[in-house]
């Protein structure tokens, strides 16, 4: 057992997993002792509802990061999807059709990123900052500055549906996570993704079509962003031009805390999931304490820097 743990920790991505589990237990215990209404069913339902969408979009982003790329346009893609969806619903389109079109819009936005990175060979950072600004501009155009509301209650009601006390959106997030963990660790695609991130040149020589993989990942990222935006839209029943603005950073925060290497190659999905849960519980607890958002940001940032610290390795 000890041997297994020691070996497990040695893999770089796993180090954060172990640390996060320890930290998470301490954090949760501390909050439940300090805060009278922290360990309640309704608080955890809130927590799950609030973090489900962030969790969904963090999955494709984590994978994109593993290939050595980055996607900073997620928030804007979510904005465009949510506003389009809201407008379609307002126009009286049936819900299933609106869902389908919204996912298509997300895929389209994702393929725009994919095209820039995989076909034009732009740097992911440059390309997605570009699309981030561009698509946010599109949000302003779509809304004309006013928020789109008055959505049908059959749609917004879904956000309050629970299965065994767990919100539907959270269950969906867990399902996507489970699939992603399986695919990334047990299938060839997962190995190829890691290979592309670890050494793009070598992977090309071994016959992996890196560009194809990157393109598909960005399209997937767009689709998931579309799905996440729908759940967020259900919760708010309103879409404004600033919808999901800054979500890219929030997602990155969770993932980096989970030990995904921003330079590509290493990291695992479990870490990303734990990072997400850690930040969500931390913010929730700090909200309960009444700490202002400005301090919260400072603490979360500090946590990331600390978690990224690697003490100098002893040369073997």
């Amino acid at each position: 057992m000890r041997k297994f743990l020691a070996d497990y920790i040695k893999k770089d991505g796993n180090r954060n997993v172990v640390l996060l589990i320890v930290y998470l237990v301490i954090q949760t215990a501390a909050f439940s002792i300090l805060l009278p209404n922290f360990m309640t069913v309704s608080n955890f339902q809130n927590l799950m509802r609030q973090s489900a969408e962030l969790g969904m979009v963090s999955i494709p982003l984590a994978i994109v990061l593993m290939t050595g790329n980055i996607d900073l346009s997620i928030g804007s893609v979510m904005g465009v999807c949510a506003i389009s969806m809201a407008r379609m619903l307002r126009a009286g389109l049936p819900i299933p059709a609106a869902v389908l079109f919204t996912v298509c819009i997300g895929a389209l936005a994702g393929s725009l990123n994919g095209f820039c990175v995989a076909k034009l060979h732009l740097d992911g950072l440059v390309a997605t900052i570009g699309t981030q600004v561009m698509l946010r501009g599109f949000c302003y155009i779509l809304t004309g500055g006013r928020s789109v509301s008055g959505l049908p209650s059959e749609f917004t009601r879904v956000s309050k549906m629970y299965v065994l006390g767990v919100p539907i959106s959270f269950l969906l997030m867990l399902a996507i996570f489970a699939v992603a963990i399986f695919v990334m660790q047990k299938t060839r695609i997962g190995i190829q993704v890691h290979a592309v991130g670890y050494n793009a040149r070598a992977s090309r020589f071994s016959g992996i079509e890196a560009d194809k993989i990157k393109f598909r990942l960005f399209v997937m990222s767009g689709c998931v962003a579309a799905i996440a935006s729908m759940f967020m839209l259900m919760r708010f029943a309103s879409a404004e031009s600033e919808f999901a603005n800054g979500y890219d950073t929030d997602t990155l925060v969770a993932i980096l805390l989970g030990g995904i290497n921003i330079a590509g190659g290493s990291g695992n999905m479990l870490g990303a999931f734990l990072g997400l849960i850690t930040v969500a519980i931390l913010k929730n607890g700090l909200n309960h304490i009444g700490m202002t958002a400005t301090y919260q940001q400072f603490i979360v940032g500090l946590l990331i820097v600390i978690s990224a610290v690697r003490l100098p390795k002893k040369r073997d």
């Binding site: 020691a6 920790i9 040695k10 172990v18 640390l19 320890v22 930290y23 301490i26 954090q27 501390a30 909050f31 300090l34 805060l35 009278p36 209404n37 309640t40 069913v41 309704s42 608080n43 339902q45 809130n46 609030q50 500055g145 928020s147 509301s149 008055g150 917004t156 629970y162 006390g165 967020m232 919760r235 708010f236 029943a237 309103s238 404004e240 600033e242 999901a244 603005n245 800054g246 931390l282 913010k283 607890g285 700090l286 909200n287 309960h288 304490i289 009444g290 700490m291 202002t292 958002a293 400005t294 301090y295 919260q296 603490i299 946590l303 600390i306 978690s307 610290v309 003490l311 002893k314």
Partner: protein, 358 residues
């Protein structure tokens, strides 16, 4: 070696967290420490509410559009003062940047923790409708402050003055300064935001009605950015050499216009008093213009009062008092339906130093 490394890191991480929690406790308040949590089932909402009512009997939560800006810090100061006077635990917390999602998260968290009253200045008036409805279900009173959420179940809305009344007062101010004639330009922060549109439409109607010799030549929009407002003012000066007045409808407009006019006067392109500038503004930004004489008067309100009145209104709701029964030193409230107006302030070169809000 590696194990030790991890141990060290784990300790550092935990230390960071504990520091955070302790810091938070110091800054916040210990709300209802002695009430034990016992909500076993969500379906049992009634029971939970009763408990939360008990826990949150003296707790209020006010959620501004964002935190870290002078305007909202002033608002917080006023709210905190009122909470101290009336004996409430007040948490004043909003997102770091204007963001609806975080506002909703914070309100939900506050409700779980147990509060008796909620104040909200929504970034997206429609996005909070559902959250306010939840608050109502739980028996929590809600007051919209500074910015209304008209489609919601909020109990009251606390604002300085109705948009229409402010627009008309601004129109009267600039018309007086211009002597009732000449070319006038409007500067606004947004051409679509409800609180801007209703102000400048009211001003326009008022001028057409009462001062037919004033011609409104342009309405420029700054998107609420200082630099943009400044450029807009410069554009106006070069496009309309015979312009006589500029009226600003948001906090950035009049001070930036005054800066542009002041610059033109310094360059010798304009004479002092050739162009009248007024509008909405706050002391910190308008002090210079008022002192230099470019601005003669500015319509303003004190966000401290907004915060203060919000807490008093929540207190009245909780104690079953009417709004008319509220008495606050130096503030005269007016009630119109569910709107509580606390009044505007007219800033002049003489009184601008008396006000310490941002």
């Amino acid at each position: 070696m590696r194990k030790r490394r991890n141990k060290v890191l784990a300790i550092v991480l935990c230390g960071g967290l504990m520091a955070g929690i302790l810091g938070g406790c110091g800054a916040g308040q210990e709300a209802s420490q002695d009430t034990a949590p016992a909500a076993e089932e969500t379906a049992d909402a009634a029971k939970e509410n009763a408990e939360q009512g008990e826990a949150g009997g003296k707790s209020l939560f006010l959620c501004p559009k964002c935190v870290g800006y002078d305007y909202w810090t002033s608002c917080e100061t006023g709210a905190k003062a009122a909470a101290d006077e009336l004996g409430y635990d007040l948490t004043f917390n909003g997102p770091a940047a204007t963001d609806s999602a975080q506002q909703i998260t914070m309100m939900e968290d506050a409700m779980t923790q147990g509060i008796a009253g909620l104040g909200i200045s929504a970034n997206d008036a429609d996005a909070v409708v559902d959250t306010i409805a939840t608050a109502k279900e739980k028996g929590i009173y809600t007051v919209a402050f500074d910015s209304d959420s008209p489609n919601s179940d909020r109990d009251y809305c606390v604002i300085p003055e109705s948009d229409a009344a402010m627009g008309e007062q601004l129109a009267e101010m600039i018309a007086q300064e211009m002597g009732g004639e000449g070319k006038l330009a409007f500067m606004v922060a947004s051409l679509s935001a409800e609180n801007q549109v209703s102000k400048f439409e009211a001003a326009e109607a008022y001028i057409h009605e009462n001062y037919p010799d004033i011609e409104i030549v342009a309405t420029l929009c700054s998107d609420d950015e200082n630099e943009h407002a400044y450029e807009n003012a410069q554009t106006l000066l070069s496009t309309y050499p015979d312009l006589k007045g500029i009226l600003g409808f948001a906090g950035a407009e009049a001070p930036q216009a005054a800066a542009a006019v002041g610059q033109a006067i310094d360059n010798g392109d304009l004479e002092m008093g050739q162009i009248c500038v007024t509008g909405i503004g706050f002391p910190s930004q308008c002090r210079e213009g008022l002192k230099s004489g470019v601005l003669k008067q500015i319509l303003s309100w004190n966000p401290q009062e907004t915060g203060k009145v919000t807490v008093y209104v929540l207190d009245a709701l909780l104690n079953g008092k009417t709004i008319e029964e509220i008495e606050i030193d130096g503030i005269e409230l007016r009630l119109d339906g569910s709107y509580v107006y606390h009044g505007c302030v007219l800033l002049t070169p003489e009184n601008v130093d008396d006000y310490n809000y941002a």
